[in-house]
C-alpha cells in the first residue's frame, strides 16, 4: 500500500503550493500564454488534491472527477489557444494589459 508511506498532508501541501504558483503566475504575468499555463497549473494542483483524497478515502469518485477536469481543460486549451491566436492577429500583442477594450 503506497498510501501508507506518504502521508496525505504532503500531497495537500504540494497541491496547495502548485495552486499558489498558478495564482501568483496569473496575477503577475502579462503574457497571455503564461497566464494560460498558470491556469493549467492551478487545475492540476486541484487535480492532485482530488486524487490524493480519493486514494486516502478509497473513494473512486475523486479519480473519476479528475478525468472530467482533464477533458474540460483540454477543451478549454483548444478554445483558449484559438482565441489567443485571434487576439494576436487583430492586436498584434500578447500583453493582457493592452487587451482591455471590454469595459464601461
Amino acid at each position: 500500500m503506497v498510501a501508507s508511506y506518504v502521508p496525505l498532508s504532503y500531497y495537500l501541501l504540494l497541491s496547495g503550493f502548485l495552486f499558489a504558483c498558478g495564482v501568483v503566475g496569473f496575477l503577475i504575468k502579462r503574457n497571455i500564454i503564461t497566464i494560460f499555463m498558470s491556469i493549467e497549473l492551478m487545475l492540476n494542483g486541484v487535480n492532485l488534491s482530488f486524487v490524493a483524497f480519493a486514494a486516502h478515502w478509497h473513494a473512486l469518485a475523486g479519480q473519476v472527477f479528475v478525468f472530467f477536469v482533464m477533458v474540460v481543460a483540454a477543451a478549454e486549451a483548444a478554445v483558449g489557444l484559438a482565441i489567443i491566436i485571434a487576439v494576436y492577429r487583430t492586436r498584434e500583442t500578447l500583453n493582457v494589459d493592452q487587451v482591455n477594450l471590454l469595459k464601461l
Binding site: L27, N100, L101, K103
Partner: protein, 680 residues
Amino acid sequence: MTSSLNLWLIPVLPLAGAAINGFLGKRSSRRAVSTVGLFFAGAAFAWALAVAARVSFPHQPEFVAHWIRSGSFTVDFSLYLDQLSLVMLLVVTGVGFLIHVYSVGYMWDDPSYYRFFAYLNLFMFFMLTLVLAGNYLLMFIGWEGVGLASYLLIGFWFTKDSAASAGKKAFIVNRIGDFGFLIALFLLIKHFGSLNFDQVFQSIAPMKPETVGAGLLTTIGILLMVGACGKSAQIPLYIWLPDAMEGPTPVSALIHAATMVTAGVYMVARSHVIFERAPSALMVVAIIGTLTAFFAATIGIAQTDIKKVLAYSTVSQLGYMFMACGVGAFSAGIFHLMTHAFFKGLLFLAAGSVIHAVGGEQDMRKMGGLRKKIPWTFWTMTAGTLAIAGIPGLAGFFSKDEILWRAYQASWAYWLVGLVTAFITSFYMFRLWFMTFFGDYRGETGKSHDSGTHGAHNSGAHDGHGGHGGIHESPRVMLIPLVILAILSVLGGYVGVPGSLGGSNHFDKFLGPVFHASAPADAENAAMGEKGVSEHTTEGPEPETAASTELMFTAISVLAALLGFGLAWLLYYRSPQLPVRIAASLAGAYQTVVHKYYVDEFYAALFVKPLIDGSTRILWQGVDRNIIDATVNNAGDAAAHVSDEARHMQSGNIRSYAGWIAVGSAVVIAFMIWMWTQAR
C-alpha cells in the same frame, strides 16, 4: 296605500333629460334640445302632480334599491314622502319647469344651449333626490349634487374669469358647510346606528329636550346648521351667493333663489325632531337667521347691480326662514320658502327680462323709464316687488307676517330686527323698482353697451342679441312663466292665511302631521326652556286671545312696508338727486355698505391669504420641495453616484479581475473557517 306611487320616476325623469341632452345635444338642433329639456322637466312636474293627487298620508317610504349593508347598519335608496317633501316637490318641479320654459327664450342665442339644458335637468335630478331622500345619506348625495350643478351653472360662461372663480368660490364655501353636515351624519350613525329618517327620529322621539348645557342633540343640531349655513347662504358662509350671480339669470332664479338655497331650510325643517329637543341649537338657528336677514338687507340698499340687489335680498329672506325655524315655527318657515320661491323666482326672471331688454346691462343706474317700453315685465315685476315688500294681500305678506308673529312670541328682539328688516326690504325693492322702471332712461341710446364694470356681465348670452333694435320686450316664451309666477306671487299666500285675518291657515294644518306628531314628550318642560320653544303654543292652533294682538302686529309690519315704499318714492322718484347727497354726507358708513362691510376682504385677509401663504411657503416650498421632492431626487442622485464609482471596477484589465476574484475567494474561505470555528 298599497299601490306604488313610483316616486323614483320624479328624479329619474330629469336625469334622463340631462343624459340625452348631455350626450346627444351637441349634434341636435336647438328646438330638439329645448323639447327634450322641457319634456323631462314637465314630466317630472306632471308626475309630482299625479303623486299629489293620489297620495294618502302617512305614506310608507318607497324602497328603490339596496345600497349599503354593513352589519346592522343599512342605507338604502329609499324615497320618503310626507307633507313637507310634497310641498318641496311641487315647488321644485313647478317653479323649475317654469324656469326651463323661460330659459328657452333667454338662452336661445347662447352657443352652448344644449349644455345649459343638460345642467338644468341635472340640477332638477339632484334637487329632487335631496327632497325625496328617505335617509340623510341619500339627502347628502342630492345635497352635493345640487352643489355640483350650481358650480357648473355659475361657471357656465367659464371663459369669463369672474364666472369661473365665482363657481369655485361657491363650491369651496359650500364645502365648509358640508363638513359640518358630514360630522353630524357620523354622530347620528355612531349614536343611533342609522341614517333613515324614520329610525333616527323614532329613537330621538323619547329623548328629553336638552334645556341645560349642550348635549349630543345640540351638537348634531349645530353641525347640521353649519351645513345649512353653507347651502342656504347664512352668516358666516353667505359670501358665495352674491358672486353666484355671474351665472345666467335663469340659474340665479332657479338655483340661487327658488330651490337650491332653500335646501338648508328644508334640511333643518326635516330634522325638526332633533332641533325641537335642542333649544340651544334652535337659538343658534334663530340668531343666525335674524342677523343674516338684517345684515344682508342693509347691504342690499347700496347695490347698483340689479341682480346683486336680488341676491342680497335672497340671503335676507333665507334669514327670515331660518328665523322662523329657529323659533320653532317650521311650517311658517316652509310657507315663506314656498312664497319666496314664487316671488323671488319671478323677480329674478323679470330682472333677466329687463337685462335682456337693455342688451345685457345690469347696472340700475343705467336703466330707468322702462315702464312703458316693457309693460309685461313691468307689471309682473311689480307683483313680485309688492309680494316681497309685504303689501297686504300678496303672498309675501302672509308668510312674512306669520314669521314675525311667531318670532315675537319667542322674543321681541327677533321681531324688532325682523320688522326693521321688513322695512329695509321694502325700501330696497322699491328702490330697484323706481330706478329700473321710472324716471328717464339713463343708459346709452345705442345698443352697444359699454364694457365697464358691469357691462361685461352676461356678455356670453347677450353678445348675440345686443344689437337688435334698442329696448324691446322679451319673447312670449319668457313672458308666460313671468305671468304664471306673478299670479302665484299674488295668490300663493292664500293657502296659509293666519287665523287672525279670517283665514284658517290651511298650510300650517297641512304640514301639521309632520311637525306636531313628534313634539317633545314633555312639552311643559320645553316651554320652560330659555326661548320657550314650546310646540303647543307656537305651532298648535292659535289661542283666540292673541288674535287682536296679532292684528296689531300685522298693522305695524304693513306700516313698515309702506314706510319703505314711501322712502324709496321720496329718494328715487320725487327727488333723485337726494340719494347722492345723503351718500356723500354719510361717506364712511355708505362706503362700508357699498363694500359689503368688507366681509370679503376680511375673509381674504383672515383665511384666504394665510392659506395661500401657508400652502406656498410650508406645503409647497417646505414639505413638497424640501422633503418629498428632495427625498426622491436625493435617492436617485445617490444611486447614480454610487453606480458611477462602482463601474470603474470593470476596468477591462484582466489581472485586476483576477485580483478581485482572489481577494473575494480569500474572504469567503476566511469566513467559512471562522464559521467552522464558531460552530465547534
